[in-house]
Subunit: 175 residues, 6 copies
């Protein structure tokens, strides 16, 4: 039995992520999807809560023939303990999938196998692109699984990101 | 569609929890199982990591005809923001199940419906009882679902709790 | 102009505190009332939120001929920086009033003058006594200023402390 | 009885804030002034401590015919729990005043009424403008209430901001 | 070249610790002395600051023919990441010395060799014993190296622990 | 006996720092070298862990005729308590050496003597310059003491910084 680990912020979970997961599914029996910055929300960069992203991922993966776990990970802001943090919050895994050079390095220094995660249509299938389309009232729904579109609608997500986008990029509630 | 929320520490997830979940399954379409103190582990009171408990719960609930989410919740140590913390890390829910008077009060002050969760064979089906049996080398496996027994074996959990039980109750690594 | 500093948890603010403040009022022109453990609430030991305690104190001191500031102080859990924390969150003060030996020592090591705060009818005028009476449905209102009684009523405080008192003393929401 | 809530960083509290408060005073009986980023100080963006800002606001509002509370709020850096944090540290309020789109959104998602706070002479009456004038030794005192000018003098605030402005914008003590 | 790691709270560093270090010196070329709970001070259980304990250890080990490092370690309160925390704050080490069952288990789960640290005259050579003698004005100085006695004198340590011992055991500044 | 305090991030410790220390050695009997942002690592700006930097400094200063202490300091992100934090983690000191205007101001407000630390060949002897050379495979080793070159080699530091430099400047593991 092989269990893989795939990390992202998933703001939102989109077709690019989905194709990566489908590819990984060929190689592993079970997959942990780690949701980074799970404690961040209501900003242009991180519009959706950890719980909303758990819903997106669980719904989008329901039809896959693969045991999956959607695990929210709060930021810990100390690179040297990040791998331990991830391992303690996740079911055990044998291999990690990532293209983020920092993640790759951290896992490798901890002696964990890392494989590159192929990226698809990277020009368009990016969280930034989708969030910008939401703000600009352009079509974004084709870029995400149907289940994600439903979750965004349920939580009134487009209105939320549009509203907070009027705030200064670095703004916090006290500005 | 009704979604319920059920919280515990699940150290470990046992038959008492399982019967509660089976009962709740009669009333809701989906269930979020919130894993409290998910950041605590390797102590007599909290032997298993958040990730190990996610595995226990996901495996034990696999056969249930109910969409379930196992959501780890780090301690926040501020009762007044605890409900917001839970809601942001969990898929939306309509009703919470708990017998913990503090939890009931906090949810009620936040305007969330709470229902009591019936308890079964409370004398024996308690985490404390199971952990004490593990330490004393008495039989405990009948008190948990088979899936949980397997996870405990996979992570060498009985040896872990026995070892850390030699440490003073309040001990930390620096004692 | 002399400004004093008086610290407590004020769970709740009672006649014993009030007499201390009245005595201090003889010696200073302005008084900062520091509310300790301001981030703790909804427990038997700390039933009221920081905001509720600000209200109690501000209302109770309204008639005093003394400029007062009610300043909530979150716990910092590091004695060596506690004085700096207090000073940065409070208007400048010339003298601190306390009978807590730890507080006295910390202020003295920081070179701040400390004066003892006389205590009145210490058998009865204690937060513990008042909270126990609330839980036991005994009369407690004579032990607090009228303004405090009103705040407790407004926030349904007696019911809150009674409810959370059913929880284990050390319990947290995840128990 | 209506209680309002008005939030800002107040670095420093200036005539623009003061006119907003005077306007709000027409609509409410009591006003909570929430001091954001109360734990930040000694930087160009946040030169004054929480305690210094409490003094500015309390002194500037002393003559107003309005019960006011100046409440310092430490940053919590989790938008999803920010409203709970504010509510637990503040006396209860019925309506919040803000023009910050993120604040407006967060309060609205929590079901709290929000009203826009009119802004006055926004070109000049901004904290940034005042802080830049302090650094450049230009006249700034006409932009703040007299009480604020006194507090800045008492804490040697102009010298402080000038000195720390020599540090790189993002600098911390360890740079 | 072999580097060892030895952890304790060292409240204060005493002859029992010193003999352990002398024994370890036979087996390693360099030794890291990790100071646990370095952020705790001014309590009966942790009277001395991290910096004061660095001084005690550095002075007491000055004559030893062994390269030593005294490394303060702030508490992290998450057992599952504790080993990573220690490793990131310490020079690399090959073997850890400890008798604390929790520490032994945590290092072993991380794949690090652990050796027992022999204990000497455990009845008397304990931090608790020494701290109680300080409070009771009994002789304690024979139980610590001369260098430690000097540091305790320099920081007025006996008076400090006596004073804070009047506070309730669990007391914090806000009690 | 005079003890000095000198703070930096030392990413890495280089010849510029070393000459400052040699100069300070003329004025003091003992020197505390405070390692700022000790909890940060594995980024372009902070490639080395606190423990790795302790090694660099201890090894580089071994031949100096000066008692030195290398003290890691975790970030505390609250300027108003930073001096207390430093003092509690460091042996007592009489004078601080710094050119950082914020550090100078914070120490001065706390009543601690500060002396400027002369800088040498500032064009080249900067951490930024050295880190950029490491990334660009240019010669950097002449800019650091031999002991530091050895530590960088032992921890495979050049490969680490090169690898993480592919990550976006602001990237965290979850990007």
């Amino acid at each position: 039995m092989t269990r893989g680990f795939y990390i992202g912020r998933f703001q939102p979970y989109h077709q690019g992520h989905h194709r990566v997961v489908q590819d990984i599914a060929e190689e592993v029996d079970e997959l942990v999807v780690g949701i980074g910055s799970a404690d961040q929300s209501h900003s242009v960069r991180n519009p959706f809560t950890g719980g909303e992203r758990i819903m997106m991922i669980t719904k989008a993966l329901a039809d896959l023939d693969l045991v999956t776990y959607a695990v929210p990970l709060e930021d810990i802001n100390r690179n040297a303990v990040w791998v331990s943090h991830v391992r303690s919050m996740s079911p055990n895994f044998d291999v990690a999938y990532s293209n983020n050079p920092l993640v790759v390095r951290l896992f490798e220094e901890a002696g964990i196998e890392v494989r590159g995660s192929p990226m698809f249509d990277r020009e368009v299938l990016r969280g930034t692109e989708i969030r910008e389309r939401m703000i600009a009232s352009e079509d974004w729904s084709e870029l995400v699984p149907d289940a994600v579109e439903n979750v965004v609608a349920e939580v009134d997500g487009v209105e939320r990101i549009r509203r907070v986008s009027d705030t200064d990029v670095e703004a916090s509630p006290s500005d």
